[in-house]
């Protein structure tokens, strides 16, 4: 054929346009799928900044938001390990409370030196993690039940060693350390972000991270693919316990008191962040930056609403809603875009 029919040309152009729209429509879906939570965070920040220029859009508030999240961040990052391996760990909040109380008990009530107290507390944290892992893996007991049990026991011991009292007189060296600032942000913020980088590195760039994901994805398949599933699961519990212990010690430094009743409040927000985090950046996988973004989304929403004058109950409502919505979104995304990894 020596010439091109005009209708054919038009047809081709039209088809090209449709193709373009389809392709770009597709990548737009993929973009929203990956960065939806980030976009919501951005929208919230902008909206609150416009609506509350004097209270929300201030350096003070920014610092408060950043620093209030370091404990949650360390906890949530630690929690992603058992979750990624397919296990629940409900003991993390009790470990947090217990670590702080134990540190207070050793230093305040027994006058033990800070360094030694730190070593003892971390060793107990390791013991709890190993205990959880052993009971779940070796004796094949449901992780939910095991960690509910160990967490409750730790909660009891926490009350026992402190007599239910808030312990003050925590060594000033740790209090001062935790209050050190760099570029106006306190040290725990950097510790939290440091853990985020470490988690990101392990999850995304080492075989261990891949094995962890495989274990959670299908334990049976992972086992038959030659992955030491039991070891992976046990290590995940260990990681969660150690991270919670570290978070507990930092929290005592931040508060300068050991409060035996503080642990349980940390459970739900941590889970909400980890679940919401698994719906973004790397949807369908527990991932480091997703968890960080999710955490900031939650705190930004809550802070903004509180600055609007809503009472503190909004925190529970917001976290609870975020938890359910996060899981729902993950479900919808998995149905709508089954081939995007």
């Amino acid at each position: 054929m020596t010439f091109t029919d005009t209708t054919e040309t038009q047809d081709l152009t039209a088809r090209a346009a449709v193709d373009w729209r389809k392709r770009h429509g597709r990548s737009a879906i993929v973009f929203v799928y990956r960065f939806g939570v980030v976009m919501v965070l951005g929208a919230l920040v902008i909206a609150f900044s416009i609506l509350l220029p004097t209270t929300f859009f201030t350096t003070g508030n920014f610092i408060t938001i950043m620093s209030s999240q370091s404990i949650f961040m360390i906890m949530a990052l630690g929690l992603t390990a058992p979750l990624a391996a397919g296990d629940f760990d409900l003991s993390i909040a009790s470990v947090l409370g217990f670590a702080g109380a134990m540190f207070g008990y050793l230093t305040v009530l027994h006058g033990i030196g800070m360094a030694l107290a730190l070593v003892i507390v971390v060793l107990i944290g390791i013991f709890v993690g190993l205990l959880n892992g052993t009971l779940v893996v070796r004796y094949e007991i449901n992780a939910f039940i095991v960690t509910l049990g160990t967490g409750t026991i730790l909660g009891g011991i926490t009350v026992a060693i402190t007599g239910g009292q808030v312990l003050s007189g925590i060594p000033t060296s740790i209090v001062n350390t935790m209050r050190m600032t760099l570029f106006t942000l306190p040290l725990p913020v950097y510790i939290g972000l440091g853990f985020a980088v470490l988690t990101w590195y392990v999850y995304e760039h080492t075989p261990a991270g891949r094995q962890l994901f495989f274990t959670g994805e299908s334990r049976e398949a992972a086992r038959l693919a030659g992955i030491a599933v039991n070891r992976v699961r046990a290590i995940a519990f260990l990681v969660a316990a150690i991270m919670s212990t570290i978070a507990g010690i930092i929290l005592v430094g931040q508060l300068s008191v050991a409060d035996p009743s503080i642990g349980p409040d940390y459970l739900l927000p941590t889970y909400a962040a980890a679940f919401l985090g698994a719906t973004t950046i790397k949807p369908g996988r527990y991932n480091s930056w997703g968890t960080v973004v999710a955490l900031y989304l939650l705190v930004t929403g809550i802070t903004g609403l509180q600055l609007f004058g809503l009472a503190s109950w909004i925190q529970q409502v917001f976290n609870g809603a975020a938890l359910v919505i996060a899981v729902m979104l993950a479900r919808v995304a998995a149905i709508k875009a089954p081939d995007i990894a």
Binding site: H205, T206, R210, S218, E220, G226, A341
Partner: protein, 530 residues
């Protein structure tokens, strides 16, 4: 074929759908398909994986909404689309999936009569009456089972038959309808396939029809009155089975795609030293298995379903606990219960259930392929993604995994391609021995040929292969030796020229009467579990 196909002028179709199309995003899964099912016929719908069979069935089941323009008629009456699952049932459509959907701990009566009990006064269940009713129903289909038996004690084949009987009895109560069977033979041993077909033939003499969805042409030609062939979403032919030539049906099904046939027997064998020795291996069902595999040898292991051969792959790789026995790979003893160690020693396993035991569904194809060799791509404290993906890409090309997109999610691939990707994973570990459990189960013809060719190729390269399968055809094509398992014991061994589909089938059915191997004969038989 005994049943004559009624022509459209004589009888109204029980069910017909015209101009049925379905588009998912950019892909057209179905393109204007017409399908008519007449009363009393067994109609087969065949096509390769991805040809649109399951899409069509899901439209009939009311799970998918067809594109606008489709027309559905039942007994000549036009019905509005889309269907809902509830309306499909009311129309007289009964669906039977691969997973039969029985409650394993409940009895046969309870499973057969879900929600259809005849109640006496005060809503009391008349158990005695129901039991007798069920016993009669089963007997009609040649099944003599105690209705009180919990379903979990039945074989897979019996459970499948029960599913058909349940669906059929529901249809008959409603005055007839179409029973849709999705790959009914996929997980059945051949003996049960025969029984299943016997039951289906019974359907033909009644008011109901059956629509069988399958990718196994050889099976459906034996049972169907008419065959409709789907290819790339189009209905390419709908022909009476009588007088249709097998080869032309295959060509219709595959289209232009060249069929790669593996010709057994012309492999250049380099059978040298022994790579695997198994001594007195026992598990739950398998008892005292003793055999060895040489380098480059393909050893088949088969038997009727439930005879214990299914346990072998998992005992070998250490996934299941063994009660006795020793396994050595090139002189290295394998410990029990440590699949990772078996991998390390050079024994790689392809499990039967690729969805649950094989693949990581939401992981990418590349991640699945490199799952057992991840550390190979870890350099200077960093995962080398580019090398990983290019290695996966190469594997995908080599094992013909399509589409060749390493970043696509595993679950988005068709069954045959998933299986090829898993085979690629095994071979990435450069194993000394591979243990394959039903590698061609539920895959389309082309993939099956690719998989068989890949197995032959790896044996040629010196890998010892253990092929545990009930596909006698596969075994006959590939194996150097075939072990027959009956009641947990290796009761016969076929080698070289003795191996044929017929000989394997015969040995399986003869079981322990067949030529008995010495150690099996000397063992006490009372601990048999079947």
């Amino acid at each position: 074929m005994s049943g004559s196909t009624p022509s459209a002028s004589e009888v109204l179709p029980l069910l017909s759908i015209f101009n049925c199309a379905k588009t998912f995003g950019e892909t057209k899964a179905l393109k204007s398909v017409d399908l008519e099912i007449y009363p009393g016929e067994v109609h087969a719908l065949i096509g390769q994986n991805g040809s649109g069979k399951s899409t069509l069935i899901k439209i009939l089941a009311g799970y998918h909404e067809p594109d606008p323009g489709a027309t559905l008629k039942a007994r000549g009456e036009i019905l509005p689309l889309p269907l809902t699952p509830a309306r499909a049932t009311r129309l007289g459509l009964a669906f039977l999936h691969q997973d039969v959907g029985m409650a394993p701990s409940l009895s046969i009566v309870e499973n057969l009569l879900v929600n259809r009990y005849h109640t006496g006064r005060f809503g009391r269940l008349r158990w005695k009456y129901e039991r007798a009713r069920v016993r009669d129903l089963l007997a009609q289909f040649g099944l003599h089972l105690d209705p009180e038996l919990p379903v979990r004690l039945l074989t897979r084949g019996e459970q499948a038959l029960l599913g058909i009987i349940r669906a059929w009895s529901i249809l008959e109560e409603r005055g007839g309808g179409v029973m849709v069977l999705d790959e009914p033979t996929a997980s059945l041993p051949e003996a049960d396939v025969d029984r299943l077909f016997e039951v289906l033939r019974g359907v033909r003499h009644r008011r109901s029809s059956a629509l069988i969805v399958s990718h196994r042409l050889d099976e459906v030609t034996a049972i169907a009155d008419r065959i409709s062939i789907l290819r790339d979403g189009k209905l390419v032919a709908s022909v009476a089975t009588e007088g249709a030539e097998h080869q032309s049906l295959v060509d219709l099904m595959l289209g232009r795609e060249a069929l790669i046939r593996y010709h057994g027997g012309n492999r250049t064998r380099r059978i040298e030293e022994t790579v695997l020795t198994v001594d007195m291996l026992s598990g739950r069902l398998l008892k005292g298995a003793t055999f060895s595999v040489r380098k480059g040898e393909i050893l088949g292991v088969t038997g009727l379903t439930g005879m214990g051969q299914d346990e072998l792959p998992y005992l070998l790789c250490g996934a299941n606990r063994r009660t006795t026995g020793e396994i050595q790979i090139s002189g290295v003893r394998l410990d029990d219960q440590k699949p990772a160690e078996a991998f390390h020693a050079g024994l790689a396993t392809l499990p039967q259930d690729r969805q649950r035991q094989g693949g990581f569904l939401t992981a990418t194809a590349a991640e699945n392929i490199t799952a057992s060799t991840i550390s190979k791509y870890f350099h200077h404290g960093w995962m080398d993604r580019r090398r990983e993906e290019s290695a996966a890409m190469q594997s995908m090309e080599h094992y013909r995994v399509v589409p060749e997109q390493p970043k696509r999610r595993f679950q988005a691939f068709s069954g045959g391609n998933q299986q090829k990707a898993l085979l690629a994973r095994l071979m990435q570990t450069q194993p000394k021995v591979i243990v394959l459990h039903e590698p061609t189960q539920g895959v389309d013809i082309a993939s099956r040929q690719h998989i068989l060719a890949a197995i032959a190729r790896s044996a040629e390269e010196g890998t010892g292969v253990i092929l545990v399968s009930i596909e006698h055809n596969d075994l006959a094509q590939l194996c150097d030796r075939v072990l027959i398992v009956s009641r947990g014991r290796i009761v016969a061994e076929l080698a070289g020229d003795e191996i044929s589909e017929l000989a394997i089938a015969r040995s399986c059915h003869l079981g322990s009467d067949a030529q008995t191997r010495d150690h099996a004969a000397s063992e006490p038989q009372e601990d048999s579990l079947i």
